[in-house]
Subunit: 211 residues, 2 copies
């Protein structure tokens, strides 16, 4: 199976890596701090390698498990080295100073801004799944929904396969610009985690379409 | 208990009325076509009255169970007659010609536009709950989530009480401008209902925060 490269070694990197391992994919962790990448790879077990940010990603799918600013910087730095690859953008460009808006302009999205910086095919995914739920692979006994958006059908289908092989339900919501709605709504969900009215919400909720 | 006035007699009027009846509230249905209002009231049973659009609403809460254009027209026509009341705006201002955007500008919302037309306190609610799920009062055995947004705490609390008394979970998401995110995401959900990739979605899904 094709390797999944994950850039970053924080909580979201761990969560997405857990799903990729569950999907039976070889995983490569790259990080600016190589020791942190190695530690996460060791935690994930066999079939996982690590390396330093800047080296050529082994995976055909490269997950930017980074905050928005860092993701922009990394895709810019890699430049044409990412051509032909599929990038997964997970970012939620929340204005954490006000917690009252996004830092991208209305009618735009972090995913579209990142796509403008790279020749890779960008697919939005995992922005509505908190890290703890990805590690668990379920929530309250229910399958996780992972919403996807992308302009390249083949790239989106590859991410959908990763998602379903990892035990989640992919919901391909359309073109990359649907990231506007995905990022907007997850911003709303994030404000609820910090809201004392919802004491059971602790950065551990899922967002699900029920039928 | 305070009467709930519902303006409109279509599917959403029926669904919200069903929850209001379940909540034990007297319901008044007003419609341009008085016979349609009377027919829906008869269907809902005792403790339900009907009347003609234009007459003074009995309820302290007035649900605009109407499309966006009609809701704007009705609040404008009522004018100051709605002062002191709580209006529930349920609209999703989708551009149904393109099904690719909203008809309100990015950084705005139907709820805010309606609020600008009336002295009433506007609360966004029920825009993410399809009519069939409101009639059923649950979905796949799970409680319905109803997302609320509003600028007046007392008005939002009154709507939250109606929602919880009707057997749903109210999720008060913050100020009225959070309607931007609620309307944006429901637009995305609506596009999925018409997407052949999701054959079990048939204008009957729910949107739920899982824990």
């Amino acid at each position: 199976m094709s390797t999944i490269t994950i850039i970053g070694s924080g909580n979201m990197a761990r969560g997405i890596a857990a799903r990729a391992v569950a999907a039976g994919r070889p995983v490569e962790i790259l990080n600016r701090d190589e020791a942190k990448a190695a530690a996460l790879a060791a935690e994930l077990g066999a079939n996982t390698t690590s390396g330093k940010l800047g080296q050529s990603p082994s995976g055909g799918i490269v997950v930017m498990a980074l905050p928005f600013d860092a993701a922009r910087e990394v895709v810019s730095t890699y430049g044409d080295a990412l051509a032909g690859k599929t990038i997964i953008d997970i970012t939620n460009p929340v204005n954490f100073e006000t917690f009252d808006s996004l830092v991208v302009a209305p009618g735009s999205s972090a995913a579209e801004e990142i796509a403008a910086l790279t020749p890779a095919n960008v697919v939005k995914a995992f922005n509505t799944t908190f890290a703890a739920t990805l590690v668990a692979g379920e929530i309250g006994g229910q399958t996780l929904d992972a919403f996807l958006a992308g302009d390249n059908a083949e790239a989106t289908a590859a991410v959908a396969s990763l998602v379903s092989d990892g035990g989640m339900r992919p919901i391909a919501a359309g073109p990359l610009k649907r990231s506007r709605e995905l990022e907007g709504f997850q911003f709303l969900i994030m404000t609820l985690q910090a809201n004392p009215a919802f004491e059971t919400f602790n950065w551990n909720t899922g967002l699900k379409i029920t039928v």
